[in-house]
């Protein structure tokens, strides 16, 4: 196991980048129409609940990562194979996000470049950074969150000045009633991106300040929910629900509309940077969770030996995962309420219940 520690502030930043990583770029909750932002906001409440499950498990087993307490709760015979499934889940999650980031990048700015090259560069970079340890990942995140925050504020400011924001495009609120909003919340926004935060169940034992760290985690989930909701509302207010709903990369379309006096325009690079940084950290954390889980299950002392092999697996899985971007998105919607739901929510709930039962029976005699 690695000895490195992460501070609550760093955990906050990592969760924030992880939650927003790919979500901020994509169309979210479009089935709720103009009320997508509302659905995301409601979803955040669900996200907090999900994070509470992880935190409860962490409080019960503060020294162990996810794969560790699975074995502690379920016993080795059941826990070990389940841990193995989690490795596959993390690899798959990383591969999906890698593919998605690569696809977005290629369809928006580098249409001639083969996706394997783009993904390989990304994976190799992540391999380099993970080799340096979680501390380096966290500190790098600190630098880039500042960059992205500055770009974000600048973009909002410029959008305001360009006069492209039209709040009336968000009205009426709940024109179709609460029904679609609730439905979208249940089907999409609770699950995405909040159930992927399960990765952090592998990282929580590295916290150097437990209680503050937990608070920072909740704050990060809440903040990311608010920011996602805000960015979705912004996209709709700028583009209108039709264009935003159709767009594969609405944030880019939004930023492209900035045109102040024919001079301040063409700020695509802001979005490209956000895409690359967000995707980098999202994949890196899935990747790291997979590496840690594997090191834990197979009792490998130095997890660094696993980084490159798992990186190559992620790269090839990302290539095989689907034949096209459409398939990728379609699969994503199905997986969200099946695989991701199981691994992100149902199994942890079950684990919590089992741990509770164990403790209850254990403490009675």
């Amino acid at each position: 196991m690695e000895k490195a520690k992460i501070s609550p502030g760093q955990l906050f930043i990592l969760i924030l980048l992880f939650d927003m990583g790919t979500a901020i770029l994509r169309v979210m909750a479009m089935s709720a129409g103009k009320d997508a932002w509302l659905a995301i906001l409601l979803g955040t409440a669900g996200g907090l609940a999900i994070f509470w499950i992880y935190v409860s498990l962490y409080r019960l087993y503060p020294e162990l990562p996810l794969t560790g307490y699975i074995r502690a709760i379920l016993g080795k015979g059941l826990g070990w194979p389940l841990g193995l499934l989690y490795i596959l889940f993390f690899i798959h999650g990383g591969a999906r996000d890698l593919r998605e980031g690569g696809d977005l990048l290629i369809s928006s700015v580098m249409e001639q470049t083969p996706i394997i090259v783009v993904n390989a560069v990304m994976v190799l970079s992540i391999v380099y950074v993970l080799n340096k340890g979680i501390e380096v990942v966290a500190r790098t995140a600190q630098i880039f969150i500042m960059t992205i925050a500055i770009l974000g504020f600048l973009s909002i400011f410029l959008l305001l000045f360009a006069g492209v924001i039209d709040i009336s495009r968000l009205l009426p609120v709940m024109g179709n009633g609460l029904g679609p909003v609730i439905q979208t919340t249940l089907k999409q926004t609770i699950e995405f991106p909040h159930e992927e935060v399960i990765c952090f169940a592998m990282l929580l034992p590295y916290l150097n300040n437990r209680e503050k760290g937990i608070r920072a985690g909740f704050a990060a989930v809440l903040t990311s929910g608010l920011l996602l909701s805000f960015s979705t509302a912004l996209n709709i207010a700028v583009l209108g629900i039709d264009i935003a709903g159709r767009s594969t990369f609405p944030l880019l379309s939004t930023i492209r509309l900035i045109n102040i006096g024919e001079i301040i325009q063409r700020l695509d690079v802001f979005v490209v940077l956000t895409l690359i940084v967000g995707d980098f950290f999202k994949v890196a954390i899935f990747f790291y969770a997979a590496v840690l889980a594997a090191a834990d299950l197979f009792r490998i002392k130095d997890y660094r030996q696993l980084v490159l092999p798992i990186g190559i697996i992620i790269l090839f899985v990302s290539m095989m995962i689907s034949s096209s971007f459409i398939e990728q998105i379609e699969e994503g919607d199905v997986l969200l309420v099946t695989v991701f739901l199981w691994f992100g929510v149902l199994i942890p709930i079950f684990l919590l219940a089992a741990a509770g039962v164990r403790k209850w029976f254990g403490s009675r005699p």
């Binding site: 000895k3 520690k5 501070s7 502030g9 760093q10 990048l105 700015v109 580098m110 470049t113 783009v118 560069v121 990304m122 970079s125 380099y128 950074v129 340096k132 340890g133 501390e135 380096v136 990942v137 500190r139 790098t140 600190q142 630098i143 880039f144 500042m146 024919e262 001079i263 325009q265 063409r266 700020l267 695509d268 690079v269 490209v272 940077l273 690359i276 940084v277 980098f280």
Partner: protein
């Protein structure tokens, strides 16, 4: 890493041979009693070098005992030798010491007492009886006084000879602030620092490093402010050095830094005593090396290279502005050429339309691709720069003029390169001169080239991936256990007071985390978070080879 043991092996072998050849004796040897044999031995060990001056005479109080004064020509202040040694030994004695003659004659060894206590008018003089120490003192420019049939000798510090005077700093130029700089003599350098810090807590340790050069190296720190563990670590790393020669502080820097292969400097060096004093007050440690004006300061952080000494003398607003300009300059040096390549070869949509048309017009008829054009011009610039540094001063003007005119204007007029490229390259060049910590500029200049390759291959994607890797590399670096990128990552809010910003002295300031006990002292500069401190120093120890 993998060639280091190899080098060590060579050094070890060499050392033994050389020790025997040159007659440096490992063990403590007493001096000869017989003066003739002493003189002969010194002559022999130094290979009859003509710069050994041996002056023998007889003192009136002891006419039967010969006295010899030995020193190295050029290392010793000859006028002082004449005034204080020869004069006092030869003449003064006549008048004063005749009465005591009888009492003295009984013990030949007592003559040293007389010389030391009554005759010799040299401030720093001592008796010793150790051949190696004597030889080293002699080679350092001290004088040695021997008396026939007496054991031991007297060493007097009359070091002198030709030295460069204390002049204005040549590389770290300031508008406001002190104008003195270090020179090649360690004693002078130490005095320049002490003059600024009149505190009994300014402690200093000396050691000799370099099997042949026997260079004086001193560690300086403020006791109670510098962390003891850090001092111990520096001491340990310096003691571990095994090398034949230390000719400049760069040797030491290379041997004590945390990581060898990185384009970034992990030890700060300066030739300004006020910078050293300021850093000592922040709890850092200075390593002075004899024979060079460049003094090492450690541990260092990335942000330190953007701080000029003047920052602390100028107004706060101005300082903050200048620092922002320097950071901007750093990014320009590193990224501007690659950004230009990315924009003109991959992301045409990001150029405003009128500029795009202008660039397109310039590009018409230019035979080279943008990447090659940029590479050509950057290489030309680096050539000119290197030529400017190495060439004799007399032809300096000619080269820079020829370089600017021929390479810039003529190339554009001939249609070989675009005017825009010349603007980009020269802007990059100018920006590279903004940083006070010159060593970091070199890093940026080096990194620029891989960036350009990445930009021409992947456009902004390449640049951003390179930047992420670069930042990751920077965050993984440590200088004596201190994270290199602090206080940005790990982020310390308290320590932002002297990173990009500089808080006015009136605001209560905290000392950087690397200091020992007293945190809330007077007004301080710089900051490194203390939270990370504990396990880092120890980790730094482990990493060391």
């Amino acid at each position: 890493m993998f060639f280091k043991p190899f080098v060590r092996a060579i050094k070890k072998r060499k050392k033994k041979e050389i020790v025997h050849e040159l007659g440096f004796h490992e063990d403590d040897q007493p001096l000869e009693q017989d003066l003739n044999r002493t003189v002969e031995r010194i002559k022999q060990e130094l290979g009859n070098s003509p710069d050994v001056i041996i002056r023998t005479f007889r003192m009136d109080i002891r006419p039967h005992q010969r006295v010899a004064v030995i020193y190295m020509e050029g290392l010793t202040d000859i006028e002082k030798v004449n005034d204080f040694v020869a004069h006092s030994l030869l003449f003064k004695q006549n008048e004063k010491e005749n009465e005591n003659e009888s009492s003295m004659s009984s013990d030949p060894q007592r003559i040293f007492d007389v010389i030391l206590n009554r005759a010799l008018t040299v401030g720093d003089a001592k008796y010793l009886n150790n051949w190696n120490v004597m030889m080293h003192a002699l080679l350092s420019g001290d004088i040695a006084v021997f008396v026939d049939n007496c054991e031991g000798c007297i060493i007097g510090n009359l070091r002198g000879g030709e030295r460069r005077p204390v002049t204005e700093p040549e590389t770290e130029v300031n508008i406001r602030g002190p104008k003195d700089s270090f020179n090649e003599t360690i004693g002078t350098n130490i005095s320049l620092i002490r003059r600024r810090l009149k505190s009994p807590n300014l402690w200093m340790e000396s050691m000799r490093i370099g099997d042949i050069t026997q260079t004086d190296v001193s560690i300086m720190y403020l006791k109670g402010i510098a962390e003891d563990r850090l001092v111990e670590e520096v001491r340990r790393r310096l003691k571990d050095i095994r090398i034949d020669a230390i000719l400049e502080s760069g040797y030491v820097e290379d041997l004590i830094q945390d990581q060898t292969f990185t384009p970034f400097p992990l030890v700060y060096n300066t030739e300004r005593p006020d910078v050293v004093a300021g850093n000592l007050l922040e709890g850092r440690i200075a390593v002075l090396v004899d024979g060079t004006p460049n003094t090492l300061i450690l541990p260092t952080t990335f942000s330190q290279f953007f701080k000029a000494a003047e920052d602390y003398y100028q107004r706060v607003e101005f300082t903050v502005f200048m620092r922002l300009i320097r950071y901007f300059g750093f990014f320009v040096v590193m990224l501007l050429p690659s950004m230009y390549i990315a924009v003109t070869t991959h992301h045409h949509e990001m150029i405003p339309t009128p500029l795009a048309i202008n660039l397109l017009a310039q590009r018409e008829g230019v035979p080279f691709p943008v990447f090659f054009e940029a590479f050509l011009m950057e290489a030309a610039f680096e050539l000119m720069r290197e030529a400017g540094t190495r060439m004799p001063r007399a032809v300096g003007q000619a080269v820079s003029t020829v370089g600017a005119i021929v390479l810039g204007q003529a190339a554009v007029e001939a249609g070989i390169v675009t005017a825009m490229m010349v603007i980009v390259v020269s802007f990059t060049g100018i920006a590279s001169f903004t940083m006070p910590g010159f060593t970091l500029t070199t890093s940026a200049r080096l990194i620029r080239f891989p960036m350009m390759i990445a930009a021409s291959t992947f456009g902004f994607y390449g640049i951003f991936m390179c930047t992420i890797l670069l930042v990751a590399h920077l965050t993984s670096l440590r200088s004596f256990g201190i994270p290199y990128l602090s206080p940005f990552a790990p982020f310390g809010f308290k320590h932002q007071k002297d990173a990009v910003l500089r808080a006015p002295y009136k605001t209560p300031a905290t000392r950087p985390g690397l200091t020992g006990g007293r945190q809330e002292i007077s007004n301080q500069k710089d900051g490194v978070p203390s939270s990370d401190q504990n396990d880092q120093t120890s980790e730094g120890v482990k990493h060391d080879t």
